[in-house]
Amino acid sequence: MSVPLLPSTRRIFDLALGQLLWGRRGILLVLAAAAPILLAMVTRLTLVGDGAIVQINGRRIDSQAVFGTVMSLLYLRFIVPAIGVFYGTSLIADEVEEKTITYLFTRPLQRGAIVLGKFLAYLVCVTAVVLPSAAVVFMVMVPFDEMASLLASFVRDLGVLALGLAAYGAVFLWAGALFRRPLVGGLLFVFGFEQLAIVLPGYVGRLTIAHYLQADTTSVVCLLLVTVVALWAAMLIIGHREYVLER
């Protein structure tokens, strides 16, 4: 008698969602969501001229450019990879490290469902916090009369945020399934290799996820592909791997 994948995924999803919301990394997520809002409020208070223009080093920059910079530097270059690393690596690795994976492996579930259920719970959890945070920043920084014209672009940005969270989460979930302590390696990848590779000339930047955090078709397809392949690889590892738990 086989065990169907989707009901198993749903059960793991229910369990994992509670763990993510109330786990010790919840504070990190709250900080990641609140910090840009605070920053946006401070920026808003420093508005000059007619209230829609920011002046930096004597140069006048419109609110769209300021918001774009916040999205690019703060969300896409920092918050999304940081959340991806901290949460993604924890999804499987924490269960192994804390020896609770036994309770999942001895239930009538396909092991792949553990990967899928935890990933979906992660995605729901982080997008439910990061996307509203970006929306609040948008509302704080962009003048009301300009919102309508920027809305389409903003929705695309939200899509890129969600895809970035998915791609980073999947890649680091895979790393967590493969390595016992993947956090340090993950941090080196996103804040070392990626930051360096993206400014280097040539094709090295294409080996990063950060390179594809853009709202064009190629990038979207690449992010989806990275997500699917990483999840598939993680399911394969979990399905065949024996975790020998140290006493």
Binding site: W22, T106, R107, L245
Partner: protein, 305 residues
Amino acid sequence: MIVSAEHLSKWYGHVSGLNDVTLSIPPGVTGLLGPNGAGKSTFMQLITGQLRPSAGTVRVFDEPIWGNPSQYRRIGFCPEQDAFYEHMTGRDWVAALAGLHGMDAGAAANAAAQALEAVDLLDVADRKIGGYSKGMRQRVKLAQAIVHDPLLLVLDEPLSGMDPLMRRRTIRLVKQWAVGGRSVIVSSHVLHEIEAMTATVVLMHNGRIVAEGDVHQIRALIDAHPHRVSIRASDARALAQRLLVDDDVSSFRFEGDVLIVETDNPDSFYSRLTEVAASGEAGSVEEVSSPDDNLQAVFTYLVKQ
């Protein structure tokens, strides 16, 4: 048979966890005895599908277990490690794990309440596991193993850390589990714990089966080997002279005023010793003990072979 293993081996790199084990475990309660590192936990992880055999086969309910998650509907596993989702309450944790068996929320909550009651933990069920004592943690671990009413319970050192009352209750639970046609495989390195639960034992050491069967069969096995008797007497040398006249004594030595005798025929030897002691001809016999006269000694003896 509930579990059958054929030439089952498990290696961790170059380290052998289990070595060419062939074993059949019948329905009922079976105890796995052995010191730490004997291979009990490895065997339990193999029969619960957490590890893949390096060589040989293992079948549970006559089906393979590795990569066969549907088997887990019939198996409840209580691991040795002290690992939990600490932030959850006992009730939520057991219910969540019941939910992983496909129960809806209501059924899972009911099953969790029943399991927690069975381990006498209902009164603290709504406290976080992180605040539980060692004994409570053992009990909630047991509750998650029985919550889906499995046909086979696999318990790795379940009595560790429990107070005497809960120990007794758990032993009763294990015995009752098997009464309804279900089975239990329970491990311990404390022999009297296993003795209290079952007479069917498997003795393990260094990844091998040292002996298996009924406790009495194992004792019969030991009877085929010299049986040691320790005698404290007022005049041990005079006593030795009296006892050595018959050929049921295979060897003897002195440890201070204690005479240690090895005999191939314990019944005959004890009978003569009683006569000599009663006659007083070799002084008084103050204390007679046999390190071989309990399961611990049987185990120790077999492990040395």
